[in-house]
Amino acid sequence: MSEVLITLIVELEDRPGQLLKVLQPISALGGNIVGIIHQRGKKTPLNRLPVEISFKIDSSKVENLIKELKSLGIIIRSFNEVKLTATTSVLLIGHLIHTDISDTISSIDTDGEAECVEMHVSMPEISGPSTAIITISASGKEKLKEALEKLREVCRRKEITIIEPVNEELI
């Protein structure tokens, strides 16, 4: 059994219940949803809405899942499978919300080889600094290093304090 990270972009009709049609089979096969991004600005000429869904799932179940989604008539625009072999956590402190945390996090994933797979934000006061711990998974140590370097760069620009783990060799 090995877990993979899937980034799936589907085109959905812009009406209630469509997303659920995609999520149910993923969930039924034991997939763990990591993130869902509605690309509302990128509506197709046929008025369909691209939605990016990231999830972790056992690699042996991927083939069945894709078959299942296709049989339900779901339009798969792209499909990307990444074996996650390297994982680390980093802590971010600063004005995370005001500086667009979703942009901060998506900065690590420019080639689909690294992904933020878990996040916990603590924001005690709306005007004060918030704190988040994020877990990043990547397809290998090198990709993880690259992702961290990109994150450092964004954090420097946004004046976010980044606290990295001391035990990199334990990744």
């Binding site: 956590s89 980093v90 802590l91 402190i93 600063g94 916990h120 934000v121 603590s122 005690p124 600094p129 918030s130 704190t131 988040a132 711990i133 877990t135 304090t161 606290i163 990295e164 783990p165 001391v166 035990n167 334990l170």
Partner: protein, 326 residues
Amino acid sequence: MIKIAIIGFGTVGQGFAELLVRKRDEIEKAIGEFKVTAIADSKSSISGEFSLSDTIKMKRETGRLRDDVSAMEIVRNAEYDVLVEASVTKIGGGDAVEYITEALRRGKHVITSNKGPIVADFDGLMKLAEKNGVKLMYEATVGGAMPVVKLAKKYLAFCEIESVKGIFNGTCNYILSRMEEERLPYEQILKEAQELGYAEADPTYDVEGIDAALKLVIIANTIGVSARYEDVEVTGITQITPEAFQVAAEKGYTIRLIAEVSREKLKVSPRLVPLHHPLSIRGAMNAAMFKTDTAGNIFVAGRGAGKEETASAMLSDFYEIYAGSH
């Protein structure tokens, strides 16, 4: 008869003198007879014939020593074999650079607790000592009583030291471990540390990571990574929120100010440390993890500051000069 001159007679200088008095018999048994021939502080001094215990007493009671001869004159003219330099650290080195330089030129051993000169001119001073056939010892500049310098140079001989990761500022470690326990804001814990005497009224030097960075420079040079203070990437602990400990704990981490040196890295910054990792040590402690090629990981920890702790490191240097090679 080994003759000792002490420059700088504040907490550390007095601590060293007190240990000499208290442990005289053991010391003499190990390295032979010794005598303190001169002591100087920033405004007074004593040399010639005097009682060491009475001089410590006089300094404590009156805040000064018997004579007016300057520290530089003592360094230049007094009769001694080893200079114990314990003046206050100044970034850039200050007068201590001249004291040490002059003593080495005269062919005298030097033991210092002062980071300033060692950071300012590590290579120059080491070469000068070598050229004059004497030793410049600086164990007390890093980690207080915790052995770091002699550990790296002597006990890990022929090991390639790939990296050192350590906690070299007890004040920061106290504040962070209290924040971890109490989940209270930084400012509040800082106040507590100040009341307990763990932090200075102006805590900048400690909490901004400056002190740890100076020590990191010394360790780097000791393990053969040539470094200056300006080369260190420094982040302090003032931005850390109490929630940071909360969210970190959920993933099995705490936060400590870690100084790290390797061939690629020279950095002081708060880091996530696994709760079971030895560097998650609590309280006003120092600790260091040496990663080596042949000896694996070596971990040391101890009290990083304090009068006796620092003096004990200087005494171990004294032993090393006179008995270490026998």
